[in-house]
């Protein structure tokens, strides 16, 4: 009997006008969207390559024998996300920090796979289910069915399975055509992990779509007329999709305020300057004390720029390696010099500890980032009331276009910075050995430097990040089905 109900529901839906409109819309939008985004991906790749070439030209021609300057020239560039033919990264990110940018994506967020699932499919799901019960009651067929020996549970299950199956046909068909286009496009090179992520994305989309089908079914079991059911459905759809997620960041901004970035930076600079002042004062006192105690021996040590970080505090510059080496050699040869140097090093340590203590006690930047994280988390969690937000988090995190992707890129950049630091240490040392006259203004050939190779975030990490939100979507499904079940058990079919 269950099969008969599923078949009836399925056939009833696919012969309906809404199925045809849904199918045509899904196919046209998905294919057009993927074709345009694939072309856009190619443009973004060209842009990335152009950026890399400009960067190489700058670094190869103007790099100096100084870490700071090389790092200033070399800003790691992020390649376009591999899922860009399906999902575009966070809109408006490009304008961040630039006076000149393209304003259109802010006013008109680009259309992608997320839009197809969250707007078109959710709306279609509700249109498929809003009259599943109330409509049949109005036409009198529900009464006829119930008068036979069929349980309400089976009827509801049958309607759910048949309805969902017919609803998913346009979606799966459109996605298959889109994926076929992606797989034959030579510009898009997806590896095994990308296909696994796509499979999970499809599964998450199905969870999201069934959720809205069940929501429509639930509303239908609580309505007598399909006209009222559709109005209630649309009312809730507007709230869940168009209102709640958009309002949450603004509400959280009112409750968790973030201090001004400029103010925090200014205070941070003040503290940094103050910490250097304090360390300098301590070192100057130590120099005075050592001059009195060791007189000539210390003057010789001073002429070697103290062979350590004190040079920075006292003279305001980094120690030259040649002095460092000379001081070390002298200490090995002369025990009295060594004792003095060690005593001076202790003073240096003390000054450095004081400097670090002051900087660590700096509350401003930490406070800024802590409050920003708090605000983001509050907004994120508040928006979880809406299935839309949960699905957006899942889809974006799975495809590396989400909120965690900038942090992940920062992590990749930090690792690369470490590599580059070691490379530059070695390179500058070698260059100085070859040319003792080399200084911070001298050109340094870094054409053999390590290059940043962007690797996708490990799949395990992505999955860990999306599972809680997926759980919420499943929970929504269960709750809506249970409510639809309870509603239908008490439904007056007359």
């Amino acid at each position: 009997m269950l099969r008969t109900i599923i078949a009836k529901e399925f056939l009833n839906n696919i012969l309906n006008l809404r199925f045809m409109i849904g199918l045509v819309l899904c196919l046209i939008v998905t294919v057009a969207c993927i074709m345009i985004l694939a072309h856009d991906y190619r443009q973004q790749m060209n842009d990335y390559n152009a950026r890399m070439n400009i960067q190489d030209e700058i670094v190869d021609n103007y790099a100096k024998a100084d870490h700071h300057r090389v790092f200033n020239l070399l800003r790691p560039q992020k390649p376009p996300e591999r899922f860009r033919p399906l999902i575009i990264g966070i809109p408006g990110n490009e304008s961040s920090g630039f006076f000149d940018y393209n304003p259109l994506p802010i006013l008109f967020p680009p259309l992608d796979f997320l839009f197809i699932v969250t707007i078109i499919m959710s709306l279609l799901a509700m249109l498929f289910s809003y009259d599943a019960i109330a409509g049949e009651r109005q036409s009198g067929t529900l009464r006829l069915m119930i008068s036979n020996s069929i349980s309400r549970t089976k009827l509801l299950f049958g309607k759910f399975i048949g309805g969902t199956a017919s609803l998913l046909i346009p979606f799966i068909l459109a996605l298959l055509v889109g994926v076929l286009y992606v797989s034959v496009n030579p510009v898009i090179q997806w590896d095994g992990s990308a296909w696994v992520e796509l499979a999970l994305l499809t599964a998450a989309s199905i969870t999201f779509i069934t959720l809205f089908y069940l929501l429509g079914l639930m509303i239908s079991t609580f309505s007598k007329y399909s006209a009222i059911s559709i109005l209630n459905c649309l009312f809730i759809w507007v709230l869940l999709i168009l209102v709640i997620p958009n309002i949450c960041p603004y509400i959280s901004a009112q409750f968790c305020r973030i201090p001004s970035i400029k103010e925090a930076e200014r205070r941070d600079n003040e503290i940094e300057r103050h910490s250097i002042e304090v360390a300098r004062k301590l070192m100057n006192e130590a120099v005075k004390e050592f001059k009195l105690k060791y007189s000539k021996l210390f003057s010789e040590f001073e002429s070697m720029e103290f062979g350590g970080i004190a040079a920075f505090f006292v003279f305001g510059r980094d120690v030259d390696p040649k002095y460092q080496k000379a001081a070390q050699q002298r200490a090995e040869e002369e025990p009295e010099f060594k004792a003095m140097m060690n005593a001076f090093r202790q003073k240096e340590e003390k000054a450095r500890d004081e400097l670090m203590r002051i900087r660590r006690a700096n509350p401003f930047l930490d406070d800024l980032h802590r409050k920003a994280a708090l605000q983001t988390n509050l907004a994120k969690n508040l928006a979880c009331i809406s299935p839309f937000a949960n699905f957006v988090y899942i889809a974006r995190e799975l495809t590396g276009t989400g909120l965690r992707s900038p942090d992940y890129f920062e992590q990749v950049k930090d690792e690369y910075d470490d590599q580059l630091h070691s490379y530059l240490d070695k390179k500058i040392q070698e260059a100085k050995e070859k040319n003792p006259e080399l200084d911070e203004e001298s050109f340094l050939d870094v054409s053999d430097r390590p290059r940043l190779v962007f690797k996708e975030e490990p799949f395990k990490d992505k999955l860990g990040a999306v599972l809680p939100y997926w759980g919420i979507l499943v929970l929504f499904n269960v709750v809506f089905f249970a409510a639809a079940f309870a509603g239908f058990m008490r439904y007056d079919v007359r």
Binding site: V243, S252, I258, S260
Partner: protein, 423 residues
């Protein structure tokens, strides 16, 4: 007779469930939106006060406009502090919002968004069964069996239906506006009132388009359920599909380098110039003169780069407008944000003002020689566009698109109703 039909339409709407639910939804949403965006405006003002104190010479910052409460547009980006650099213009500090990416992930729930997306849907829901629904219940046949002319009936239905739909909108907007104007933190001048009036007028025209479209669909179908399904799909296409897909399609025709690439190109120029500067021997008697010449040339090269980029953006906006011209949503978005001083035209104007300021300083320093490092530099001043500017910057063409679509859809509904089979 026309008055009786209008009255009947208004009364039947007022007593319907649809009216209650749409009125409750739109009223709550408009009030919540204004309240939320008002809070956002106060935060932006606090931030502006801090940043203004910090601003140095050859830099600029403009305050957020209170009209951003109604249409946020690009205001967050417009109000960032910027400073003139050797090559180009740079942003000296971001807003706090830049630290919370959720703001970028979801759209600002301002009045513009509520009208563009939600109220347009409500307008279609109001109109989708005005003809096909009456046909189903049999009242249309009865009404036309009297000496009632079809043109009078359709005009009466339109006026009555639209009046009952738009009244709650006016009341909610009025309440929200009173709340905002009563706040001592918000300073709305006469110019702003005119702009707000124009914004509401354009919103009414925009909503009338969707109402007429809903009526047209109702006149083309014989069952209200069919009319509803078609209305929803047309709404999705007009409000989301055409504007959002059209813009990304426009980007495929006009190649725009990313902001990062532009920044790298500037850096390339700067590094080359630094290198060339070091090649000039300091012992030369004309060292200072040659240095200035080189700097001047660099600034002009950077300006050329910026101009080229901005021209491309302008072309992109035009192409995008041509592609999306079929839908009222992009025309309304551009018109509303331009009216409120938070749109693409305002951004273009601000960039031009920053460029003019830069050219002025460059002229004083490099050509006239009346400005040096120690003398006090002229400050940057900026006034947002007046109503006249808005109309000349493209506001008029967008208004015409909206009016034209209105006339088109209403004429379509009128013609379709004259040929409608009421049996």
């Amino acid at each position: 007779m026309l008055m009786s039909i209008i009255r009947k339409e208004i009364l039947s709407n007022l007593l319907s469930y649809k009216f209650s639910i749409i009125t409750i939804l739109s009223t709550i949403l408009i009030l919540v939106s204004i309240l939320v965006m008002y809070g956002d405006y106060l935060l932006a003002m606090d931030n502006h006060d801090i940043l203004r104190k910090e601003s140095s010479d050859h830099s600029g910052i403009i305050p957020p406009t209170p009209l951003g409460i109604f249409a946020k547009g690009l205001d967050d980006n417009l109000c960032r502090p910027w400073e003139l650099q050797g090559v180009g213009v740079g942003i000296s500090s971001e807003q706090q919002k830049s630290l919370n990416n959720l703001f970028k992930l979801f759209t600002a729930p301002d009045l513009l968004y509520i009208i563009k997306v939600i109220l347009s849907l409500c307008a279609m829901l109001f109109a989708f069964d005005m003809v096909s629904g009456e046909k189903e219940t049999g009242t249309l046949r009865q009404a036309l069996s009297y000496r009632l002319k079809r043109p009078i009936l359709i005009v009466g239905k339109w006026i009555g239906g639209f009046t009952s739909f738009i009244l709650p909108f006016f009341i909610a907007v009025l309440l929200g506006t009173i709340f905002v104007t009563l706040s001592p933190m918000v300073d709305i001048n006469a110019q702003d009132w005119t702009k707000l009036g124009l914004f509401i007028l354009s919103s009414v025209i925009y909503l009338a388009i969707f109402f007429s479209l809903g009526l047209l669909i109702s006149c083309l179908t014989h069952r209200s359920s069919t009319s509803l399904v078609i209305s929803l799909f047309v709404w999705t296409i007009l409000v989301f599909l055409i504007p959002n897909l059209g813009n990304i399609l426009a980007c495929q025709f006009i190649q725009i380098p990313t902001a990062q690439q532009l920044d790298l190109k500037r850096k390339q120029i700067m590094n080359r110039v630094r290198f060339e500067m070091k090649q000039i021997p300091k012992t030369r008697p004309d060292y200072e003169k040659r240095l200035k010449e080189l700097q001047f040339r660099t600034i002009k090269e950077g300006d050329q780069l910026d101009e080229d980029y901005r021209n491309r953006i302008n072309r992109l906006v035009k192409v995008s407008q041509s592609i999306t011209g079929l839908s009222p949503a992009p025309a309304f978005t551009l018109l509303a944000t331009d009216i409120m001083g938070t749109g693409v035209a305002e951004e273009r104007r601000l960039k031009k003002a920053a460029q003019d300021y830069k050219d002025f300083l460059v002229k004083l320093y490099y050509i006239d020689g009346t400005l040096d490092e120690e003398s006090e530099q002229p400050k940057f001043h900026y006034q947002r566009s007046s109503v006249k500017d808005i109309l000349s910057q493209g506001g008029l063409s967008n208004s015409l698109i909206l009016i034209l679509l209105n006339v088109l859809f209403f004429s379509g509904a009128y013609v379709a109703f004259l040929r409608y089979d009421v049996r």
